[in-house]
């Protein structure tokens, strides 16, 4: 696309290699671009979402090297070459991951916008801490928001996955 009234500059971009859900993508990006934009705009993934852009709500969470990471405040350069997993990387509607199945079982959603942050944060935490107590789960989920307040069902789903993971 032409730049219209403005000159297009390529000086600010470089080839960035991202490994997302097991696939390698090489993208021409400003290295300071937040990972979220590369995932949702360039790779057209629907899982990670822009909620606040400030790392406060969790909607953009992805898992990088086993850690829950806020992709809205993480540059593409900083995760180049790392294994990045998004919500899509866990399971599919036909074959959901056990934590996704737990959310279906508990009918744990209202609008569903926060689900990405809730599920990815809970999975990263429980995979590392399979025997976490209820209080520890609560603490781990205290940086995530659901403004429809589906807390009861979501925490039930997380606990169900936690029990299965601990077995």
């Amino acid at each position: 696309m032409t730049g219209g009234a403005f000159r297009r500059s390529l000086l600010d971009t470089m080839a960035i290699t991202l490994k997302v859900n097991g696939r390698v993508h090489t993208l021409d990006l400003d290295p300071a671009t937040p990972l979220l934009y590369a995932l949702s705009d360039d790779l057209r993934l629907n899982g990670p979402k822009f909620g606040c852009g400030l790392g406060q709500c969790g909607a953009c969470t992805v898992i990088v090297k086993g850690q829950a990471v806020r992709s809205c405040v993480t540059t593409v350069k900083s995760v180049e070459g790392s294994d990045i997993t998004t919500l899509e990387g866990l399971g599919t509607p036909e074959k959901p991951h056990p934590i996704q199945q737990a959310f279906i079982n508990a009918q744990a959603a209202q609008c569903g916008f926060c689900l990405n942050g809730v599920i990815m944060t809970a999975k990263a935490f429980l995979d590392k801490n399979p025997r976490a107590t209820e209080a520890e789960i609560q603490q781990a989920m205290s940086g995530v928001l659901c403004r429809c307040f589906t807390n009861v069902r979501m925490l039930r789903a997380v606990a169900q996955y936690g029990k299965a993971a601990a077995r």
């Binding site: 629907n46 569903g112 916008f113 403004r147």
Partner: protein, 752 residues
């Protein structure tokens, strides 16, 4: 269908509080907008394909409240097919009827009582039976339908499918007002907890929100909002972003400023770098004294009820109390987003608006296009609860797309979402009541002040929200009026009238409710349970104060002043499940230090006719820190026949916790220029992980009668029930929301 105040109301929750009823009636008089499928035609609601698959069309959308599941259940039930056979299409101006807003807990009443989708289902069923009767040469009485096949009783080889009967053709028939609905006793799909079909896609990232709409050649827009409330543009230096990578266009129209770029990150940077000179607006009122200042503004006065004898009756033992509520915000989880493709005279708009037809009309106004050349397609956004940024960002995308000549996606920043949305308004409510020697209430006087500005755009007021206003459109006019005229027909849609007055659900004959609507400096709108929540907080807290004054049990005292059997029953049901101990508050024997336990109750008939609900909250107050921990909430609900008990439970639970967050922490703040609660550090929402109370939803199912709304019942009672529980635990009455630890601690310190 009964034409009533619900239709009247649905035009705007906020306008009804603050502005003239005359303008509302005018809006309603327009009915469905031109070009929308005829409301009385069966083909507008239901189509049956040759393969027997069923498509239903609805003007009520899925926002996350579960209504699409219930609507598909309704159609499946009336047509005797499995749930999975029904495809529901909702809120697309090219396809679906104009049912105005999806709001006000009106979707269920609108489509499940006697008109619209319910009547279409019943009509289609009777038509199919008549067609089958002719085809098979057997009277209708001898036919039964199962799974989309009509068979002759006792001779199942004589059969015909819906697909064979209709053959994909249109019905060409009007809705039949006499077509009989299936009685609840025969339901097999309705009334059951059918799981939501959208969940598998939602939990795996396949679901497409409006945020995920991607059109070929789509550009990304960002708006540059004023740095202060009321600021106007005095100049824009377009050269400040010249040569930026990917920057395509700067758009300035009156006070609207935006940029368009190829990629979101580029648009963000261009928006941040664009030099705009702003002329500041008038200083904002002081946040700390907002409630006092509301009382001094020119007001539009309305008397909701007036028995004419309140001043004479308010003698002897008179209690008086003033309750304060802050401005609060929708604060949607995802900032609002829309995608618009304006090409010459035509436009296609993807929006999370709660009213696609009104969005179509008002977008046409600001684009200078004919409404018939615009198609608005609903795509789900982040949970809304009334009037978040969904409509305003749709205008942003439309204006930027028109200027760029390409499809444009706009998502607001967190700050722009929070600083300019239509807030739930602040309230000052004064209550006075007199008691006789037996402790009965003899008169109740209620007076309130509440600010309003704008609201939902409706069919023709784009200036009711920020983008329309920046583009030069005016918000709905404010006309002060004092004194108030005599009360009109009784209408308690705002729950301004206490439940205990005889005009409503109670026994107290002497009463007066006077409201003062004043102008707001911030846009306001119908935030979940608009006015109903603030009024109910004041009424149900005051009722507790009256009960305490006469040393009566708060539940018994309520029952004593109620005459509506269903409201009594719902209150008794919550009390019973909560093992309510009959005694006056405060709780005897509590110490004045450390943790004190207490319980509180509240009840209301939402909107005066749209959902019976009661709530019991059990709490702990840490008297050293002022922190409240809610341990348990029992929420009872009677909303008529239950279509999907799990969906109802989900609404009751979510409403209770959202109400808890609003009661404990949420408050819009500002300095003398601008809103300062603009992210999740400065606007205090409860997170997902906190000490979540045990919530028990007690559902009373009435298989006869009409359905009522269920989306806003439990939330309406939370602040009152918790305030009453704080009093029970500590003897301290907190009359101002939110119940922050600092506020509680200060009140406890002042305790004698």
């Amino acid at each position: 269908m009964k034409p009533n105040r619900r239709d009247f109301l649905r035009t705007s929750g906020a306008l009804i509080i603050g502005f003239s009823a005359g303008s509302l009636k005018m809006l309603r008089a327009q009915g469905p907008l031109p070009g929308s499928p005829a409301m009385n035609q069966l083909d507008s609601w239901i189509a049956i394909a040759a393969d027997g698959s069923i498509t239903a069309y609805s003007g009520k959308e899925e926002l996350g409240q579960g209504i699409s599941t219930a609507q598909a259940q309704l159609v499946a039930e009336e047509l005797s097919v499995p749930f999975s056979r029904v495809k529901l299409i909702y809120c697309d101006t090219a396809l679906t009827p104009d049912q105005a807003h999806t709001s006000g807990s009106q979707s269920h009443p609108a489509n499940f009582n006697h008109g619209n989708l319910a009547q279409a289902g019943a009509t289609a069923r009777e038509v199919l039976f008549r067609m089958a009767s002719e085809r098979l040469g057997v009277p209708v009485e001898r036919l039964i339908a199962t799974d989309g096949v009509i068979v002759v009783k006792g001779n199942e080889s004589q059969r015909v499918t819906y697909g064979e009967l209709v053959q994909g053709k249109k019905f060409g028939l009007a809705l039949d007002a006499k077509a009989k609905r299936k009685p609840a006793a025969e339901w097999t799909v309705l009334g059951t907890p059918v799981p939501r079909p959208d969940l598998p896609d939602l939990v795996t990232g396949k679901f497409e929100f409006v945020h995920n709409v991607r059109l070929p050649g789509m550009l990304h827009g960002r708006v540059v909002r004023p740095p202060s409330v009321g600021a106007t543009v005095s100049g824009v230096d377009e050269s400040s972003v010249a040569g930026m990578p990917g920057a395509v266009k700067v758009v300035v129209r009156k006070n609207f400023v935006g940029v368009v770029a190829e990629k979101p990150w580029q648009a963000m940077q261009a928006a941040a770098k664009l030099k705009v000179n702003w002329k500041p607006g008038a200083a904002l009122p002081d946040h700390g004294t907002i409630h006092e200042s509301l009382r001094k503004l020119p007001a539009r006065d309305t008397l909701m009820v007036d028995s004419g004898d309140v001043d004479q009756k308010l003698t002897g033992t008179v209690l008086k109390a003033t309750y304060l509520h802050p401005y609060q915000m929708h604060g949607s989880m995802g900032s609002s987003c829309a995608v618009a493709d304006v090409q010459g005279e035509k436009a296609t708009i993807y929006s999370a608006t709660q009213a696609v037809w009104y969005q179509k009309n008002t977008s046409a106004m600001l684009l200078g296009l004919k409404p018939e050349n615009i198609r608005v397609i609903f795509r789900r956004g982040s949970g809304c609860y009334g009037c978040n940024g969904a409509d305003t960002v749709t205008y942003d995308a439309a204006v930027l797309s028109q200027a760029a000549g390409k499809p444009v996606r706009v998502q607001l920043t967190r700050k722009d979402e929070m600083a300019f949305e239509n807030y739930g308004p602040a309230y000052v409510i004064e209550q006075r009541a007199s008691l006789d020697s037996s402790g009965n209430i003899t008169a109740w006087d209620h007076e309130s002040w509440s600010p309003g500005l704008g609201g939902r755009p409706g069919p023709n007021t784009p200036g009711n929200i920020v983008t329309g206003s920046l583009l030069g459109f005016q918000p709905a006019a404010f006309a002060p009026r004092s004194p108030a005229p005599s009360p009109g027909a009784f209408n308690n849609s705002s729950n301004g009238v206490p439940s205990y007055l005889v005009q409503g659900t109670g026994t107290v004959e002497s009463g007066r409710v006077l409201t003062h609507a004043v102008e707001s400096r911030f846009f306001t709108g119908p935030l979940r349970s608009p006015a109903r929540l603030q009024n109910t907080f004041a009424h149900e807290s005051f009722m507790d104060e009256l009960a305490a004054r006469v040393k009566a049990d708060p539940v018994q005292y309520r029952l004593r002043h109620l005459r509506d059997a269903r409201l009594k029953e719902v209150l008794q049901a919550a009390a019973k499940t909560a093992n309510w101990e009959t005694r006056p508050s405060p709780k005897p024997g509590n110490l004045k230090t450390g943790i004190a336990k207490g319980r509180g109750a509240a009840c209301v008939l939402y909107e005066g006719d749209n959902g019976y609900t009661a709530l019991v909250a059990e709490i702990e107050v840490n008297q050293d820190t002022g922190k409240i921990v809610v341990k348990r909430m029992v929420a009872s609900s009677d909303v008529g026949p239950i279509s999907n008990p799990d969906g109802l439970r989900n609404q009751v639970e979510g409403g209770a916790l959202q109400g808890l967050s609003r009661a404990l922490g949420e408050e819009v703040t500002w300095d003398h220029e601008k809103v300062t609660s603009v992210d999740w550090r400065t606007y205090h929402s409860l997170p997902l992980g906190f000490e979540v109370p045990k919530i028990e939803a007690v559902l009373i199912n009435r298989t006869e009668g009409e359905v009522m709304g269920a989306g806003e019942t439990s939330i309406t009672l939370v602040a009152a029930a918790i305030g009453n529980a704080i009093f029970d635990a500590t003897g301290v009455r907190i009359r101002q929301v939110p119940f922050t630890a600092e506020r509680i601690k200060a009140a406890l310190a002042a305790r004698l």
